[in-house]
């Protein structure tokens, strides 16, 4: 009996170059389409149980944010860079912010930012309700 040995087939070579090409294209795509923004968060409504402690002082200070972004306390206008000094005088009081609907977000954030930097625990944002 004659045994015929079958020649072993050569394994197909998988080229890695197309894979590298695809990876490089994907990499360039993600680098071009992604934006690397440094974003932070400012809590405006903390979850229940994480709200600030009640102020030791029972006084309440109402600060209005006017349509042009300036602030007013007891009818007196405050320069934007003076808000921190004003808030520092009322550090133990409850601070109520009443922003005008026409004021911009940056104006409100400026006050919240100053309050957060001073560590004020009781700052509430009020808003006008809809007319009945």
């Amino acid at each position: 009996m004659i045994r015929l040995a079958r020649q072993s087939r050569p394994l197909p070579v998988i080229s890695i170059i197309p894979l590298v090409d695809v990876l490089l294209i994907l990499l360039v795509f993600f680098m071009v389409t992604s934006t690397f923004l440094d974003l932070d968060m400012l809590p405006i409504s903390p979850p229940e149980g994480q709200a600030g402690a009640e102020p030791s002082d029972s006084r309440t200070v109402l600060i209005r944010v006017l349509p042009d972004g300036t602030l007013a306390i007891r009818g007196q206008r405050i320069a934007p860079d003076g808000i921190q000094a004003v808030l520092a005088q009322h550090a133990d009081a409850r601070v109520l912010l009443l922003p005008s609907p026409q004021a911009d977000v940056q104006a409100l954030v400026r006050v919240l930012d100053a309050a957060a930097l001073l560590g004020l625990s009781s700052v509430s944002v009020l808003q006008f309700g809809d007319a009945p």
């Binding site: 389409t33 440094d38 400012l42 954030v109």
Partner: protein, 135 residues
């Protein structure tokens, strides 16, 4: 004269595996660190603040453009649809955080009532997206 042939030096095999490793690493890095612009389908510049804190990603993102146009997770929608979608998301995951990504020039009449309505539909934690103040 006898000629001596110098045996041809074997060139070291250039391994492409290291290159693939580096490319994979960069790809995963770009995927993880990069933020697709899906959270806002329009141009907006968040307000600046120095007291903003870094928070984990995830949750819902409501974008508000300077003229009051709304979007939720990158999809433009009406205020009613946004509130309905937020309510559905809260039903599925009650502890979900909602980020309001509003332009710094947006009038508060577009933002504060929205935040109130979101509280009413059950959103417990609302944060405002800010950029660190360069000054």
């Amino acid at each position: 004269m006898t000629r001596l042939y110098r045996p041809a030096q074997k060139r070291p095999a250039e391994t492409i595996v290291a290159l693939v490793d580096v490319v994979f690493f960069l790809l995963v890095f770009a995927l993880l660190i990069g933020r697709m612009d899906a959270t806002a389908p329009f141009d907006l510049t968040p307000p600046e603040a120095t007291s903003g804190v870094d928070m984990p990603s995830g949750g819902l993102t409501a974008a508000v453009s300077a003229d009051g146009t709304l979007a939720l997770n990158g999809e433009p929608m009406s205020r009613t649809a946004l509130l309905r979608a937020a309510e559905r998301a809260i039903g599925a995951s009650p502890e979900i955080r909602l980020r309001i990504n509003a332009d710094g020039r947006t009038a508060l009449r577009h933002v504060l009532p929205l935040a109130s309505d979101l509280k009413e539909v059950g959103v417990r934690e609302i944060v405002l997206v800010v950029t660190p103040d360069a000054g």
